[in-house]
Each structure stands twice: as structure tokens, then as C-alpha cells.
């Protein structure tokens, strides 16, 4: 028997988007935030470099420039009305965070400090602009802490370490969610008028990733399994600078502060690929350039990595060559101490994990799976969309990485993920509460926990011929090799076949732990099931798209094809098969043109 709770709004996920949604929803409706981790453990906390907003603290900047940069960054797949909304809201939302207490770094005159980031430019000069508001290199940590603090202050109701496994939809509207309490293993049914998904991404699909172990796609798969489509799943971002072999993120802020990428010849190779933006071109462009350098034998010592160099003498050499200046016009020069003060965490990571001191030696880096551009399709208010006509599912909302508004299109700009979570977390929270106030509680179906019980029962009673850890590793390898930075028809077909094989083998998995209390073995097996579904949808959506756009780069179709592919994919998962539909991109001011950095 399940324990039943009732809240008008249930928020699933306690990271930045979920906490922002929780803060705003709880002002208008009885709200609960459910999270499989304690909220402060959420992946938002690992974001480093900054949050994008045209505050103009340090130099001239405008929301219109931010909007255009994001449209261009998205390779014209982002919906321009949504991007414009986000970039306009960015300014007041970042000030809102400051008022909540976020300890941003400061300029000399006490304003929020800002640093350059990839793809963010002064649209008149084409030069990098200081748009990323930051708190050292722990901006995500400070956002997560600040929002959690405000939730404590405002007495938001939390259910910590509750794993949501199903969303309840009855008679065409949402009526709740089903969760397992990890501490007891008990099933809990949350009867609700509105459910907001803010569960983050699924980087654990890939072998090398910057993402947390918990990033397993539970949210997007829970809705897929209830007939809600997933949008643009073929677009997954590989961040250029993960620590070699480990995937741990080294912020783009390193390059914002003047660091450069070099190959085995010591050459700053980005000058060849992006003559204007160079090391601050957008992430897809740089990751591809790195792959090409490595495949042409210019990886360091012939290996599959390159150098990210932020030694002060190197930073200063290239700053001089580029004619870079401080906002006051004086030549840009840095010391090791200044870099340490601005980037303490990544220096600590390098010292701890690879014994490299970035102020004295270059860092070994390779592209690392980082961010899902796709997800649950939503309006700019976080309302979930169920088809190509933008029909809304009453009571269902999504925000943050799990959602696809779409503001990132085919490639997200750095700093726009933290912006996304605060802007759309707030919108979805407000809208969910307003909706909840207009409607009565819908009736719960009989035996609402039945589906989850079946899933868990199957994992407890499998024949044990397969091990979850083995299947997970095989999935991660094939996704990394075949659905990674460069893709081909043959490779993706292999990936689709492999994931299908793994789906069959998954039926033989049995959780070894028969217990109830903190059965993380059972949970990990269930998460693997989610990842396999997400991998299947990702691989099939990628195989279908016969062009190259943003993070989806095909060797066999190397050009963008606006004639046939300027459209979003919507993938449905029906009885184990993927069905694809498409919907148009919203274009307001900017017709697609060639993308040059």
C-alpha cells in the first residue's frame, strides 16, 4: 500500500530550476519539492563559469545582442521568441538573485562582475563581450545555495531523497506523481493538480561526461513513458574542456580569462577554425576542431587529448597578440595570483585529480558529454506540449535542462543553462500555481502506484543473467563512439541496434539487494532502464536527421540543410518503438545564415 499525500503543486527535482519553481509556486499554492538527492547535492552546484545577462556592468551590452548570439549559437534551431524572452528576463532575474543574497564577484565600483564567455559578443565589433555574471568559478554552487537558503527562509515543503518514478495522467490532465522514499523503500502517491519536472539531464548516457552519477534522464523518460514526446533529443552538447579520461569540467571561464587551447605543435589551433572568436567560439565548433586536430595526429604525444593553457605568460602573450584590453582600455595582463582568485576550484580539481598546477603547466583536456539541449517540449511558461500543434497537457510543466523551450536549439551557449533554470524555473512555478488555483483536484486513478510497482517487481525478480553495471558500460561506450561529436549513418545504426539489444538484455537484470532501506542497487537498475530509453530516442532521432547542425555533426551530411531540416523533432516512445514527428522553428527577426565565428 502506498502512502498518499496531497499538494496543489508538486515539483520534481531540487536543483536550480526546481528550487526557483518551488520558491515562486509556494507563494501562490500549496507546494512540495521532491528530490532524489538532498537539494544541495543537485547538479546545478557544479556549474562554474557564470550566468549570462546583458547587465552591462563592465562595458556596453544589450539584451538584443544576447538574443542574437543565442540564436546564432543555436545554429538557428532555437525558437527566437523564447530566446528573446529569456535574454530580456535575464537582467531582472540576475538582479533578483543578487537581492536574494547571491555573492557575485564585484567590479571596483561594487557592481556585479562579468567575464567573457564563448559565443557572447558585442554585435557591432564581433569581439567577445563581458556578459557572464560570476561568483569565482562556483557560480552554480552559489545559485543552488542561495535558492535553497531562500526556500528555508520561506519554509518551502521538501521531500528529500524521494525518487519520482511516474507521473499520473488521467482523462487528459495531470493528477499526480508516484515516488519511492529511499530511506524506507515505501511507495508514496502525490495527489496534485500540477506537476513540474525539473530533473536535469542525462549525460550518464555517455562514457566520458562532466555530469553527476544521478544524471540519468529519469524525468524526460517518465513523461515519454506516459505518451509525452521529447523534443530535439539528437542534440547533445560535448563541452570542449573535460579533464582527460575523467571528463570533469574545466570551465569555459578559463578561456574567458585568456586561456588558450594548443595542440602537439604548441599551436593555438582555434585561430584556424574561428579567426575572430578563436578560443571563445561556441562549444560545438571547438569540440569539432579538437576532434579534427586529434584525428590528424596533433593530439598531445599523438594521444586523444589537447592542452588548455592558462599559464600567465601564455595568457599575456596571446592577450598582447590579440590586442586585448581591460574595460578601462589598459592592456590586459594577468598574474598567477589573479587567476587563482578567479578560478580556484578548477585549479584545485587539477591539483587533486591529475597532479597538474594550471598556473605552471597546461591542462590535458578532451571533449566531455555535458548538456542535453533537448527534452520535454514546453512553452515559455513551462507548460508541456504534446504534439506538433503545440497542444498543452493541462497540469504538466517542465523547466531547466529536462525541458526544451527551445532556447538552446542545436547548441547551447555557455552561461545560458544557469539563465534557463532561473528564468524558466520561475515562469513554470508561477504558472503552475496560477493553474492550480483555477482547478479542483482531479480524481486519482485506481491503484495509481501499480505501474511503478510492476517495474520494481520485475527488477527484483529478474533471472539475474545480466548485470546492470555491464549493460550500462556497453551503452555508454556505444553512445560515446557512435552518437558523439561526429556521427555517421553506419555508426548510428549500430548504436540503435546495440541499444535495442541492451533493452532485451535489461529484462534479465536483477537487483542483488532484496531490502527496502536505501536500496540504491534497485534504484541504479531502474535508472539504467531510463537511460536505455533516453539512449534509444537520442540515437533514433539522430539517425533520422540527415544534416549537420550545431552539436549534431554528420560526416556523411556535413552541411546544414535549412530546406529540409529547419525544424524540431518530437520523439514518441510507443511500446518500445520510437515514432518521430516534426514541428517548425519560430523565426521572428533573424533568417538563418551561415554561422561563422
Amino acid at each position: 500500500m502506498a502512502v498518499t499525500h496531497q499538494h496543489e503543486v508538486v515539483i520534481v527535482g531540487g536543483g536550480g530550476a526546481g528550487l526557483m519553481a518551488g520558491l515562486y509556486a509556494s507563494r501562490g499554492a500549496d507546494t512540495a519539492v521532491l528530490s532524489k538527492l538532498h537539494p544541495v547535492r543537485s547538479h546545478t552546484g557544479t556549474a562554474q563559469g557564470g550566468v549570462g545577462a546583458a547587465l552591462g556592468s563592465e562595458e556596453e551590452d544589450r539584451p538584443e545582442w544576447h538574443t542574437f548570439d543565442s540564436v546564432k549559437g543555436s545554429d538557428y534551431l532555437g525558437d527566437q521568441d523564447a530566446i528573446e524572452f529569456m535574454c530580456n528576463e535575464a537582467v531582472s532575474t540576475v538582479y533578483d538573485l543578487e537581492h536574494m543574497g547571491l555573492p557575485f564577484n564585484r567590479t571596483k565600483d561594487g557592481k556585479i562582475a562579468q567575464r567573457p564567455f564563448g559565443g557572447h559578443t558585442n554585435n557591432l565589433s564581433g569581439k567577445p563581450v563581458r556578459r557572464a555574471a560570476y561568483a569565482a568559478d562556483r557560480t552554480g554552487h552559489m545559485i543552488l545555495q542561495t535558492l535553497y537558503q531562500q526556500c528555508i527562509k520561506n519554509k518551502v515543503r521538501f521531500y528529500d531523497e524521494f525518487q519520482v518514478m511516474d507521473v499520473l495522467i488521467e482523462n487528459g490532465r495531470v493528477c499526480g506523481a508516484v515516488a519511492v522514499e529511499l530511506a524506507s523503500g515505501e511507495m508514496h502517491v502525490f495527489h496534485a493538480k500540477a506537476v513540474v519536472f525539473s530533473t536535469g539531464g542525462w549525460g550518464r548516457l555517455f562514457e566520458t561526461t562532466s555530469n553527476a552519477h544521478s544524471y540519468t534522464g529519469d524525468g524526460v523518460v517518465a513523461t515519454l513513458r506516459r505518451g509525452i514526446p521529447a523534443e530535439d533529443m539528437e542534440f547533445f552538447q560535448f563541452h570542449p574542456t573535460g579533464i582527460y579520461k575523467m571528463g570533469i569540467l574545466i570551465t569555459e571561464g578559463v578561456r574567458g580569462e585568456g586561456g588558450v587551447l594548443t595542440n602537439n605543435d604548441g599551436e593555438r589551433f582555434m585561430e584556424r577554425y574561428a579567426p575572430t572568436a578563436k578560443d571563445l567560439a561556441s562549444r560545438d565548433v571547438i569540440s569539432r576542431a579538437m576532434y579534427l586536430e586529434m584525428s590528424e595526429g596533433r593530439g598531445i604525444g599523438g594521444k586523444r587529448y589537447l592542452h588548455l593553457d592558462m599559464r600567465p605568460e601564455v595568457v599575456n602573450k596571446y592577450a598582447e597578440a590579440d590586442g586585448r584590453t581591460w574595460p578601462d582600455g589598459s592592456p590586459y595582463r594577468v598574474t598567477g595570483e589573479q587567476l587563482l582568485a578567479k578560478l580556484p576550484d578548477i585549479i584545485d580539481f587539477c591539483r587533486t585529480y591529475i597532479g597538474v598546477d594550471p598556473v605552471k603547466d597546461p591542462m590535458p583536456v578532451q571533449p566531455t558529454a555535458h548538456y542535453a539541449m533537448g527534452g520535454i517540449p514546453t512553452t515559455i511558461y513551462g507548460e508541456a506540449i504534446v504534439d506538433e500543434h503545440n497542444t498543452i497537457m493541462p497540469g504538466l510543466y517542465a523547466a531547466g535542462e529536462v525541458a526544451c523551450v527551445s532556447v538552446h536549439g542545436a547548441n547551447r551557449l555557455g552561461t545560458n543553462s544557469l539563465l534557463d533554470i532561473i528564468v524558466f524555473g520561475r515562469e513554470s512555478g508561477k504558472r503552475a500555481a496560477a493553474y492550480a488555483k483555477q482547478v479542483d483536484f482531479p480524481a486519482l486513478p485506481a491503484g495509481p502506484e501499480g505501474r511503478v510497482q510492476q517495474q520494481l517487481q520485475a527488477l527484483r525478480q529478474g533471472d539475474g543473467a545480466e548485470k546492470a553495471a555491464v549493460l550500462r558500460k556497453e551503452m555508454q561506450q556505444v553512445m560515446m563512439d557512435n552518437v558523439g561529436v561526429f556521427r555517421t549513418e553506419q555508426g548510428m545504426q549500430q548504436a540503435v541496434a546495440k541499444v535495442q539489444e541492451l533493452q532485451q538484455r535489461f529484462r534479465h537484470v536483477r537487483a542483488e539487494d532484496p531490502g527496502m532501506v536505501f536500496n540504491t542497487d534497485l534504484l541504479e537498475a531502474w535508472e539504467l532502464g531510463c537511460m536505455l530509453d533516453a539512449a534509444q530516442v537520442t540515437a533514433e532521432a539522430a539517425l533520422a536527421r540527415t544534416e549537420s547542425r550545431g552539436a549534431h555533426a554528420r560526416e556523411d551530411f556535413p552541411k546544414r540543410d535549412d530546406q529540409n531540416w529547419l525544424k524540431h523533432s518530437l520523439a514518441y516512445l510507443e511500446s518500445g518503438a520510437v515514432r518521430l514527428r516534426y514541428k517548425p522553428v519560430t523565426i521572428t527577426k533573424w533568417q538563418p545564415k551561415a554561422r561563422v565565428y
Binding site: L37, H38, V40, R41, S42, H43, G45, T46, L55, Y95, E98, H99, M100, G101, P103, F104, N105, R106, T107, K108, D109, G110, K111, I112, A135, A136, R138, H141, M142, Q145, T146, Q149, Q150, I152, K153, A183, A212, H213, S214, M246, I248, D345, D348, F349, T352, Y353, I354, K467, A468, A469, A511, E512, D513, G515, M516, V517, F518, N519, T520, D521
Partner: protein
Amino acid sequence: MQVTLRIRRFNPEVDQKPHLETYQLEAEPNDQVLDLLNQVKWFQDGTLAYRRSCAHGICGSDAMRINGANRLACKILVKEVGTTITVEPILGLQVIKDLIVDMEPFWEHYRSVMPFLVNDELAPEKERLQSPEQRARFDDTTKCILCAACTTACPSFWADGEYVGPAAIVQAHRFIFDSRDQAGEARLQVLGEQMGVWRCRTAFNCTLACPREIEITMAIGEVKNAIATGKRD
């Protein structure tokens, strides 16, 4: 290299009391202790329970006692701890299962110090101004990830779990010295009470345990000083 991993196990559904279990593993010197726990869980014994998430020292899930010292399992490497490694739950909080403890008393202490900015003045249209010097005043304590390594390394906390503990004081410090905050007096009052800062005997265990290298003992000293002198500078 061959590693012997000893883990203090406790399954509340089966065991009367905890016991040490030994596992033999093949490991690399650069492996994290968390990698070893994962190896055991994924390939030897799925029932092993521990918290983990980001796996690079930021989320704060995996504080545990490793060869007797509080560490994050993902931020300590095999080469730093040798080939015989003993892993136990952090002390002073009740063990629920294996390496998982009940964190609720820790969060209760956290909530008791008003860990949030209080400023009742109407917010300006833009940011509240703060000089780089004012910002630097509380920089160190903003790094805290609430992993509990400090509090559960503190002899005063072991002696009496009612003591608010170093992590909560760190959180209070972060606001007491923030020029934008107005509730410093109220926090100092809470921390001046019997179970506040004066329970600290400057053992320095907290500072040694902190995976973020926060100068915790110094922060506690600054709070003590503010209470004693009534001045915050």
C-alpha cells in the same frame, strides 16, 4: 595494484550491529576511493549503500571516514591513502545503512542559524552595491558544500550532538560578515547561547577535515570575537 578495502557494513534489516567486511580489488593509483566503492557495488556486492553524485568534490554527498580521517570519497585518491583502506561512516550521526547516516540533526543545526540573507529594505532596481573588499570579507565561508565532514570530525559534537557544530557556524559566518545582511545580531545571539560557538575548543579537526580548505577554526574565532566585542569588522 592490488588494494584491500575494508568497509564498515550495517544493514538494519539483517544486522544487530555493524561489522567490517573486506574486499580485494584491482585499482590504479589515481582512482578515487569512490571508484573503489563503485567497483564493489557494481561487481562484487550490490547491497553496499552510500551516497554519491557529482564525483568531483562539489555536491558534498560522500563524506566518510577513510583510514580514520573525514574525507570525500571522490576527492581522495588511492595513492594518497595506500593499499589497505578502511572506510567507515562519519561519526556522531546515526547510521541508517552501511555508509549512509541520518543527516537530519545536521540540517536542523543548519536551519537554526538563519542561513539566508535578511535585508528588509526595499531592493534597488539593480544590484545592491558591495565593494570587492566587502565581498572578500566572507568569501572563504561561501565555499561550504554542507558535506558535514567538519561537524562530524569535531570532538565537541561527538560529546554532545546538541552543539550547533562547525558547519552551521560557517554558514552563519557567511551572512554575519556580508555587508548586505541585517540579521547579524540575531545570529550572534543564537551562537552565543550554551550550544553555540563556546562549545568549540579549537581542536582544529574541522579545518583539517574540510575538503574545501575553508579556514573553519578561524571563522569560528571571528564569530567568537564578534560576540565578545560586539564588533564585526
